[in-house]
Amino acid sequence: MELNARIPAGPIDEKWDRARFDMKLVNPANKRKYHVIVVGSGLAGASAAASLSELGYNVTCFCYQDSPRRAHSIAAQGGINAAKNYHNDGDSVSRLFYDTVKGGDFRAREANVYRLAQNSLSIIDQAVAQGVPFAREYSGLLDNRSFGGAQVSRTFYARGQTGQQLLLGAYQALEKEVAKGGVTMIPRTDMLELIVVGGKARGVVVRDQLTGEVRSHLGDAVILATGGYGNVFYLSTNAKGCNTTAIWRAYRKGAAFGNPCFTQIHPTCIPVSGEYQSKLTLMSESLRNDGRVWVPKRQGDRRPPGEIPDAERDYFLERMYPSFGNLSPRDIASRAAKRVCDEGRGVGESGLGVYLDFRDAIHRLGAPKIRERYGNLFEMYERITAEDPYQVPMRIFPAVHYTMGGLWVDYHLMSTVPGLFVAGEANFSDHGANRLGASALMQGLSDGYFILPNTISHYLASTKLDAVAVDQADVKQAEADALGRVSRLLQIDGKRTVASFHRELGRIMWERCGMARTAAGLQEALREIPALREEFWQNVRVTGGNDTLNQTLEHGLRVADFLELGELMCRDALHREESCGGHFREEYQTEEGEALRDDDNFAYVAAWEFTGEGRAPALHKEPLEFEHVQLAQRSYK
């Protein structure tokens, strides 16, 4: 397997312009001869599907929910970054590029990140043109707020529902194209296999959730925009249905998986309240603009927070990182919260929590202003915990939130399987080892609106695509493989529920491959996970059949893939003998407990290749050159 990132030559700020000029185009009259398949309808998928259809391509788009508007992008709260410098505080494309590379702890590809920063400007323009109701100042011009890892105010937002509004903009564009006939939208459908013919991605095998029918859809190119795999931890901020199946099945068909162990833990989520807990709810990073994070100075101080005077409070982020304080990046803030809880100073019944306190902000700005900025977030918190953040500080704890890892892609967003493109959180690119807040929305839309329309056209115009028939051997085999997995799951009839296996996998992953990893722990996981997987295939109980809606079967298929992915993540974490971003190995830390990178030996993308069932995957390395951002110890002090 060869990793060719196809980065264009030339100065970094000209690479994307050059690439677009050098790319081949498809004649407008010829576009309607091509058919592109898009799996996933979130920001990346909907924007790609709508844009490609607008250009004249035929598009079929799939999603697992009952409507494309339900994709989990809808839940993103805080905002979207762009280097507009509307606030005159020193922002620029270069600065956004720099902040993102540094924020990613120097494990992202510079050229991709620079392009992302360039595209950020167009994304805001496109969203405004679609009617996204970004917050405005009294002048009528766009408002901004600050986000973690940046000392400029560059985040555009729509209350605490920015993801919702951006997704609705893309969704509305998608429905416009559906009504025109350019996009065929097929909801309530899961992709189960990638179809590869003649070494190229030529379609997908899908399962209709309502009828159980497993069938192929063929095309000229396939785009996977299926989101992140955080649900391998069972508890995460992801929606319940979010899964790794589409990219995992593609991995098994030859798409290299990049940096699977780079998972992000978000510092501010509502703590777990019981065994039955089904997911973790995010409290947007934007809250840290005005909230102050603290725990009692004294171990075992169980007084109500209102009774603890300031002198006895440890505002630990302000103490440890004076320059960035409460707006330190997520990996830094999460580890700091874990540290103080490990020291026995955590709050809440379980001792796994820290305070996010708005007392000072309410005093300074007044409750109405705070309500205007965060209204819906405060309500969301109160509904879940029955505590009022206007009166008592919020209790928060880190939780799995985002996956920087994903399928490896080159500068064209194409994987190692020709014709298979990967966009949004599903790919590995741009965020390195840690994603900054407000940049996921930016990346999904950059990929879908502004990159894929160019690179897909280039692929189609420069590739000989033979006709593929539904009854060809490769296609039939893929269908049989998918149906075989379904049948196998249904006939086991064991004693243990799918959810029970999922919870146990999640526990193993959180303890062994979570915030702090050790060689011993990871090796233990590499014994525990295969054992759990084997028990799954002997003892799982999936009731019902394959001829009607069967949510247990859907869940079982997803967990089966998580049980394989988890092992790859631990293997990746074990091999990367350094700490960087969200990947923290206790053996590799500075004296102050910060991540200690090993740039001499690990400044590369780990791209794993599937070599067959039951065999260890092969590691390929894409070396990373940092020509524009000087490698340095990442400090936010």
């Binding site: 508007r69 969203a127 009617g131 766009l142 429905e175 329309p453």
Partner: protein, 257 residues
Amino acid sequence: MNLTLQVWRQPSAAAPGKFVEYAAAGISPDMSFLEMLDVVNEGLIAKGETPISFDHDCREGICGSCGMMINGVAHGPERGTATCQLHMRSFKDGDVVWIEPWRARAFPVVKDLCVNRGALDRIIGAGGFISAYTGGAPDGNAIPVPKPSVDAAMDAAACIGCGACVAACPNGSASLFTAAKVAHLGLLPQGQPERFRRVLTMVAQMDAEHFGHCTLYGECQEACPKEISIDTISRMNRDYLRATLTVRPEGDLAATG
């Protein structure tokens, strides 16, 4: 606490449905309503019975997937709360809880508590968008938007497309859903070029989907988990009236905005 559930079970769209009683035992008040159903379902699977199917995804009140009539009220007893955000502390030990899918001609039942809400997507496809093709947009600050306009637009844009408004309405009308989108886009300068054509096409689609008509009961805004106001319906009606008086077929020289 222990509760008794009366749950609508319907094996498929064509098959008849009925209420079935289940015991929900040992429920913690901190559980969400859907977590309670998860626990009940785990028990059913262990006994070899078919678990209750229900739509859900984000579990944080923003995707609009979940939706059930709980004791006859869309999304249950709490104001501004979607089913997934409802917590069991809103119930008491010994309560009987009746759980049904959305009831509306335009939302055929798929299985148990799941319904088909494709009609809402088709209303959006009929005009709930601004035809801004990708690329070529002016600078975001080129068109100032008055703060009161964008705040009102955001209030309307907060609709999650769950269909509670339809389920709560005695007429099964989708007016609040349609009006919310008409208001969101109609309040913004970007939405002006298509404002009046939009309301005509969206209302036409709404009617074609066999939703009922609005007679201003106001049940919809009480049920809406995002507390969208029926003022949006008044606005839609005004825009609709104006549109019928002023919108001309394309190509007519006397056409106005």
